[in-house]
C-alpha cells in the first residue's frame, strides 16, 4: 500500500514494519492501541502460569545457570595427578608475577638447604582484591600452569585474609580444569602428552642408542679382546 505524502519520512514509518506505518496513516479507533497493549500483557500474565519457556528465572542459591566456557575470572594453579604439591605445574618462574598489571601476584621460590632451586613455589599468593581478571598471567604462562577460574562466589567477611588466595586455595586439579573448560583443557592435555611422549621417546632413543653403543663396544671387545685390553669400561 502506498503511503501518502504527508506520512512519508515520518518517524513512525521508520520505527516498525510497513504494517505499522499503514496503521498510523489510516484512521483507527482512538484507544484501540491501549486495548492491544492490555491484551499483550494479559497474554504474558496468563501464559506465565503454564508455559515453562516464558519463565526464565533461575532461582539462584538453589539453582545455578551453567557458566559458559568463556567465563573467566580470578586465576587458579593447575596440578596433575592427585597431589597438589608434587603435581603442581608451576615452576615459580615468576613470569606471571612480572607481567601482572596490578601486581597482585607474589611468588617465593622454594629452595633446598643448599640454596638450590627446587623449581616450585614456596609461596604463591594472589590478592583478588587487587586482581582485575585480565587473564594476562594465564596467557604468558609457559608451563600451562595458571588459568582463569569459573568461580564467582568469592565473597567473604574477612576482606584481607579472605581475599588473599594462597597455594592451598589456588591449586586445583587438571580434572577441574577439564570440567571447567573441556576444549582448552583437552588441547593442553594433548599438547602436554605429545611433549611428554616426545621427551620419553627421545629419552628412550637415547637410552636405546647408549645401549646399542654399549653392546656394540662389548661385541667389538669380544671379537677383538686383545685390541681393547687396557682400555676402561664404557660409561
Amino acid at each position: 500500500m502506498r503511503i501518502s505524502g504527508k506520512w512519508r519520512g515520518h518517524p513512525a514509518r521508520r520505527l516498525g514494519s510497513g504494517q505499522d506505518a499503514r496503521a498510523t496513516a489510516r484512521w483507527s479507533m482512538p484507544g484501540l492501541g491501549l486495548f492491544k497493549g492490555l491484551a499483550v500483557t494479559a497474554r504474558n500474565m496468563i501464559q506465565s502460569y503454564y508455559r515453562k519457556d516464558r519463565m526464565t528465572t533461575v532461582q539462584y542459591p538453589e539453582e545455578r545457570a551453567p557458566i559458559s566456557p568463556n567465563f573467566r575470572n580470578f586465576p587458579f594453579l593447575c596440578y596433575d595427578g592427585d597431589d597438589p604439591v608434587a603435581g603442581l605445574r608451576c615452576t615459580a618462574c615468576s613470569i606471571c608475577e612480572k607481567e601482572c598489571p596490578p601486581q597482585c601476584i607474589y611468588i617465593v621460590l622454594d629452595r633446598d638447604e643448599n640454596g638450590k632451586s627446587l623449581k616450585r613455589p614456596k609461596v604463591f599468593d594472589i590478592d583478588i582484591s587487587v586482581c582485575m581478571n585480565c587473564g594476562i598471567c594465564a596467557e604468558v604462562c609457559p608451563f600451562d600452569s595458571i588459568y582463569m577460574d569459573g568461580q564467582y562466589e568469592m565473597s567473604t567477611t574477612d576482606r584481607f585474609g579472605g581475599l588473599l588466595l594462597g597455594l592451598d586455595r589456588l591449586a586445583k586439579s587438571a580434572d577441574y580444569h577439564m570440567q571447567l573448560r573441556p576444549l582448552e583443557a583437552s588441547e593442553v592435555a594433548a599438547r602436554r602428552k605429545a611433549e611428554e611422549d616426545k621427551k620419553r621417546a627421545a629419552q628412550a632413543a637415547k637410552e636405546a642408542k647408549a645401549k646399542a653403543d654399549k653392546q656394540a663396544k662389548e661385541k667389538a671387545a669380544a671379537e677383538a679382546p686383545a685390541a681393547t685390553i687396557g682400555k676402561g669400561e664404557p660409561a
Partner: protein
Amino acid sequence: MSLLDMAYGGPSLWAPEWLPRLPQRVVEMLLQHYDTPEWLVSLAGFAVAAATVVAVFLSAFALLSLIERKTLARIQNRLGPNRAGWFGILQPVADGIKMLTKEDIVPAKAEWFLHLAAPVLIVVPAMLALGVIPYGREWVPVRLELGLLFFFAVGTLTEMAVFMAGWASGSKFPMLGAMRAISQMVSYELPLILSALGVIMVTGSLSLPDIVAKQEGLHWNVLTPWGLSAALVFFIASIAEANRCPFDLPEGESEIVAGHMTEYSGFKYALFFMGEYLGLFAISGLFITLFLGGWQAPLPGLTVIPTWLWFFAKLVVVIFSHLWIRGTFPRVRIDQLMRFAWLCLIPMALLTIPAAGIWVLIGGGLLGWLVTVPLLLIPWVVLTTIHNRRLAPQTRTYTFAD
C-alpha cells in the same frame, strides 16, 4: 438479660450480612449491659466501627502490596517475591520490619515539623474517605447525608500533604515532584467531580447509601450511555488521583528520584505508600459505589451472598484492572497529561451532565439510548482523534547528526 442471652440473642447478630459489624455491636451491647451513658455507647461504637475499617484496609494494603508485585512480575514473566514464607506471603511483614528498623533521616534543610506531619496527613484523609463508603447493606461505617461531598472534600487534603512533603523536604526533587503533583491533582480533580455529577443528578442525593440503593436490580449507572462515559472519565481521573501509572508523574523515579518522597526514609516512606494504597482503595470504592452498583449483587438470585462480599469482589476486579494498567502502559509526559485532562476529560465530563439530564427527562429506554449515545460517542471519537493527532511525533530534522 444475661451476656450469654445477648450473644445468642437476635439471629441478626450472627448473620453473615452483619458479620463486619459484629465487633461494633458486641461492644455496644456490652456497654449497654453495664448501663453506660448513651453518648459513650455510640462513641465507642463508632470507634470500633472505624477500627474495623482501618484493620480491614490495612491488611488489604499489606496483601495488595504483595499481590501487586506478584501480578507485575507475572506480566513481565518473572516470579515475583517468593522467599518470605509460602509464595512470599510473609513479604509484607518482612517489608514492614525492614521499614520500621530503618534509620529515619531528616535532612538538615528540612522543616522538621512539616516533614513529620506530611506522611501522617497523607494517611488520614484516605482513612476518613474510607469511612463513608457503604461496603454492604448493613455495613456503612458513617452514614452521612453529604457523603459524596465529604469524600471529595477530604480527598483533596491529600494534595496538601503531598505539597507539604515536597516543600518541607527542602530540596529540589521533592519540590518538583510536589509541583507536578499539585498541577496533576488539581487538573484531574475537575473531571473526577464533574463525572460524578451525573450520578448525583439521577439519584437526587449526595448520600452514598442512597446512590447504591438507587442502582438495585442491575440498574447500575455504568450500564447507561451517560454512566459509561462518566465511568470512563472517572476511572481515568481516579488513576491520576491515586497517583498511579501511567499518571505517576509526581513520583517519576526515572526523572526526579521519587518526587515528594525523595527525602523520606524508614516508616515515613512506608506511610506514603500506605496513604497511596488506601487512597486507591477509597477511590476504587467510590467508583464502585457510583457506577458499579456498590454492594448490589449483579443478579437477584445471587443475593444469598452477603452484600459486603459483593462489594469486595468488585473491589478486587477494579484493583486488578489498576494493576493491569500499571503493568501495561508507560508513563506519560507532563504536557500529555495536562492536555489530556483539559482537552479531553473535562469536556467529556461536562457532556455527561446534559446527557444524564436528557436521560432523566426521557426516562431512559430506547429513545434515551438513541439520543444520548450519539451525543457522547461523537465527541469522544472526535476529541480522542484530535488528541492522537496532536501528540503524533513531528518529523525531526537534525542539523549536525545527519
